[in-house]
């Protein structure tokens, strides 16, 4: 669901008991420039009878009701542990419902017990490949058409990057899936290049699209000046157009000047500050690069959800003394922070209170956050947030003992 819910004009229907949707619907932090349908929580809300007698009929009716009342571009139907266990045939129901409604109904076989969030992402990618990609032709194509894969428009960060592509003349055919449209993804097989943003989550899509449609792919990151520059250069090089490459160089030159000016005051304040990074996958190296751009020192990072490639990159970026945390919990994290004498923690929302309770400055980097950090504008935003967190006047106050607890010397 994490991978697919950002498709904004589709309805996302969870086939399962209330916990699967009721506890979490509407909480995905990706933003939309159009339809808000993806923010609605649809679920078959199975009761005891459904569990005993099977939920297929209810699911079929549910799909028809959703189509009737909300006219979605498509309906994604997610199976859960319970519906997988009672043996509901998701694919058959979806096929029948698609025939009846004339709307694409896409089954996603995603019961929680099959594995982690990463696997769920891949399952989502499989469904897109199987049922969506290649089902529609674009109105026109250009030699500069790319797909963005694995960018979810968290806090609207895509909107800080899309204008850059536009400026140099790169057309984003489909956004898979941040602020995405079903119809665009259906056309995405006509792109000239796939640009992977979160290297692990939807890698299967890029690989399969290369196999099936001969679309090459590159793995990039939007975080940090160096990475953003490299991303634009690589795309231009892959498309192989000298004019485009020239336009990219010009854009980079312009943006660099602007950025250096905007970042100068922050760089002075952030220089030499030590951070511990605790996040997954691509972010484990892309944020290091962003932090280095700001003159900060990353003394440890997690490699929990990283691939071997990610790890190699991290090693290169961290240097000799960097600590790579393979596995970690809150206690381990606090130990590393203490050991490295770090000034702050950059991590996902779930570790926010680990840091705050230990009175350590914190920056949220994951999907629940509210600030966009991608691209050049995002870099300034991140610098501002980091500076704000590190220099907040509260740290001295919350660490200060009460005057009556001070020992009389």
């Amino acid at each position: 669901m994490i991978a697919l819910v950002p498709i904004t004009d589709a309805a996302h229907l969870v086939h399962g008991p209330i916990a699967c949707a009721g506890n979490s619907w509407g909480s995905r932090g990706s933003l939309s420039s159009g339809s808000m349908l993806y923010k609605m929580g649809f679920t078959t809300d199975l009761n005891e009878n459904d569990v005993i007698f099977g939920g297929e009929k209810k699911l079929y009716k549910a799909i028809l009701e959703v189509k009737e009342r909300y006219s979605p571009a498509a309906v994604f139907v997610y199976s859960t542990c319970v519906t997988a266990l009672i043996g509901d045939d998701l694919d058959a129901v979806c096929q029948k419902a698609a025939e009846k409604t004339g709307v694409p109904i896409v089954p996603v076989n995603s019961p929680g017990f099959i594995g982690s969030k990463n696997l769920g992402n891949r399952v989502g990618g499989e469904s897109l490949l199987e049922y969506v990609v290649g089902t529609k032709e674009p109105e026109f194509t250009t030699p500069y058409d790319i797909n963005l894969i694995g960018e979810y428009n968290i806090a609207g960060e895509l909107w800080g990057v899309l204008p850059l592509f536009e400026k140099v003349g790169i057309r984003v055919l489909a956004q898979i899936t941040g602020d995405g449209r079903y119809g665009d993804i259906a056309c995405s097989h006509r792109a000239k290049l796939n640009v992977m943003i979160c290297s692990k989550a939807l890698i299967n899509m890029a690989r399969k699209m290369e196999e099936r449609y001969n679309i090459p792919y590159v793995e990039e990151s939007f975080y940090g000046v160096a990475d953003m520059n490299r991303c634009l250069r690589n795309i231009a090089a892959k498309i192989g157009d000298a004019n485009l490459q020239q336009r990219v160089e010009q854009l980079i030159a312009e943006e660099t000047i602007k950025l250096d000016e905007a970042l100068a005051p922050y760089r002075a304040r952030l220089k030499g500050k030590r951070v511990v990074l605790y996040t997954g996958g691509v972010k484990s190296w892309s944020i290091i690069s962003a932090a280095k751009d700001l003159g900060m020192e990353v003394c440890a990072t997690s490699t929990k959800k990283s691939t071997e490639e990610d790890k190699a990159r991290i090693k290169e970026l961290l240097g000799q003394d960097g600590i790579m945390m393979e596995k970690g919990n809150a206690q381990e994290l606090l130990r590393v922070i203490a050991q490295t004498k770090a000034d702050m923690l950059i991590a996902g929302g779930r570790n926010q209170y680990t840091a705050l309770k230990a009175k350590i400055p914190f920056l949220d980097i994951n999907q629940e956050r509210h600030h966009p950090y991608a691209g050049y504008v995002g870099m300034v935003e991140m610098a501002r947030e980091l500076e704000e967190a590190l220099y907040s006047p509260v740290w001295a106050q919350v660490r200060k003992p009460a005057p009556w607890d001070l020992e009389v010397v």
Binding site: L13, G16, P17, I18, A19, C20, A21, G22, N23, S24, W25, G26, S27, K39, M40, G41, F42, T43, T44, D45, L46, N47, E48, D50, V51, K58, L59, K61, A62, I63, E65, V66, R69, T80, C81, V82, L85, I86, P111, G112, F113, I114, G115, S116, N329, A330, Q331, L334, G349, R350, Y353, T354, K357, A358, K359, E368, V398
Partner: protein, 434 residues
């Protein structure tokens, strides 16, 4: 008096309801040194944890037996055993709170048998209480899971002992926030009574800093106090859903009880204080006599803004009951009442109909009202309908301070009067300008 309707449809749109295990987790979090454990797949725990973290803005201890495809087929005994042993080693909890989920209830794991087996194989766990509660996702709602958990706690942990004439037990439903429980504890203490609150979210989820880091709850009702509940002279059940737990204590230890379904309107608070005065044999302290006159004065000042206002409520049964009575006691009218689960209270509500439904139903019923009351998920409905929202219930993730909000007692009721009154007042001023 009210007719209860359940819309006939196959799809829930924008659910109001949340699952029983989430309610169980919330109740468990009010015990000290506990580690709640969901017997299900990782996602069950992850969603519940995120919801709790967003609401309280606190680190939340919650763990999972991490059922996989294979263990679902073979049975979850090994997962439960491993999870418990790992938790004991790593977190050293004083209690483990174990609940089931939709997955393991569908599978039909024999939990009593599993726990017996673990007890037999691991005599070293003799001193570790494991409170078990059955909470299938496909039945009931958060309030039911919470109530079932409190019932399990009072059935499994208290021991009988000599009655102490000044000790009472407070059973507190999911309708009450940490700030409410704090206020109630203070009121009870002012009558010279010692209260054991179950669960005591006021000392665990109130947002406080500790000196060292713990992976289990750092506050809540301590195990030693839970053991002594059998010595209480009386049980005060706060919220109708606490009745079954109160009955459990009555049948086990012969402790009489009284249910107070609300503490947020003048009559309800009066009878609560009268009850405490009778129990303690002490007069109502001057402090509360004074507060009562303040509350009455606030009612006078605010009633202009409440009169004939149409309010639509999307709340769990206990909270719904409390808010309906509060609003009606101020002259406001209930336009729509949507709730999550069955309760004996619903039929007795002084409104025409109560809908057990989702926020799609609510959005249709609430058109044209002056105020909405519900959790943060109602905010999008409020925006679409251009009606102000007073946030209440769970989860409230777009407002700060949920650990300290108080809407009970004379003071809490006054806060409610001012908060809602200000919303009405603002609306009237905006309309006057047009």
């Amino acid at each position: 008096m009210a007719t209860i309707t359940t819309p006939r449809k196959s799809v829930a749109v924008n659910p109001l309801k949340q699952s029983q295990p989430l309610g169980a987790a919330l109740a468990f979090l009010g015990l000290k040194g506990i580690m709640p454990l969901f017997h299900g797949s990782q996602g069950c725990t992850a969603f519940a944890k995120v919801a709790l973290v967003r609401h309280f803005r606190e680190a939340i201890p919650l763990s999972t037996t991490a059922m996989t495809e294979v263990s679902t087929i073979l049975g979850g005994e090994e997962n439960v055993e491993q999870a418990i042993l790992t938790l004991v080693e790593k977190s050293k909890p004083s209690i483990i709170g174990l609940c089931t989920t939709g997955l393991t209830e569908t599978r039909g794991d024999d939990m009593a048998g599993i726990l017996q087996g673990i007890r037999k194989r691991h005599p070293e766990l003799y001193d570790l209480p494991i409170v078990f509660v059955s909470t299938p996702d496909f039945k009931g709602a958060l309030q039911d899971g919470f109530a079932a958990t409190v019932e399990s706690i009072v059935k499994e942990l208290p021991r009988s002992g000599e009655t102490r004439s000044n000790q009472i037990t407070l059973l507190v439903s999911s309708a009450f926030a940490p700030g409410d429980i704090q206020e109630i504890k203070e009121i009870v203490a002012d009558f010279g009574l010692t209260a054991i609150a179950v669960p005591d979210l006021a000392s665990s989820m109130d947002g406080h800093l500790d000196d060292d880091y713990k992976t289990v709850t750092s506050g809540g009702t301590p195990l030693a106090e839970l053991r002594e509940i059998g010595s209480s002279v009386y049980t005060l059940a706060l919220g109708e859903s606490m009745r079954s737990a109160a009955i459990a204590l009555e049948s086990q230890f012969g402790i009489p009880y009284e249910v107070f379904p609300s503490l947020s309107n003048l009559d309800a608070i009066d009878s609560f204080l009268k009850g405490l005065a009778d129990l303690s044999g002490l007069p109502v302290p001057e402090k509360y006599r004074r507060q009562r006159t303040q509350a009455q004065d606030a009612m006078l000042d605010t009633h202009f803004f409440f009169g004939r206002k149409q309010v639509s409520l999307a709340l769990e049964p206990d909270l719904l009951w409390s808010m309906v009575h509060f609003l009606q006691s101020m002259g406001a009218e209930v336009q729509a009442a949507v709730t999550t689960t069955k309760s004996p209270l619903l039929e007795q509500l002084p409104v025409k109909t109560v809908t057990i439904g989702d926020l799609e139903d609510f959005e249709q019923l609430a058109v044209g009202s002056d105020l909405l009351v519900g959790n943060s998920n109602v905010a999008v409905v409020a925006r679409r309908l251009s009606i102000p929202l007073y946030r209440l219930g769970f989860p409230v993730f777009d407002r700060l301070g949920n650990g300290h909000r108080c809407t009970v007692g004379y003071r809490g009721m006054m806060q409610l009067l001012f908060d809602l009154g200000n919303l009405f007042l603002e609306q009237e001023e905006a309309q006057a300008k047009h």
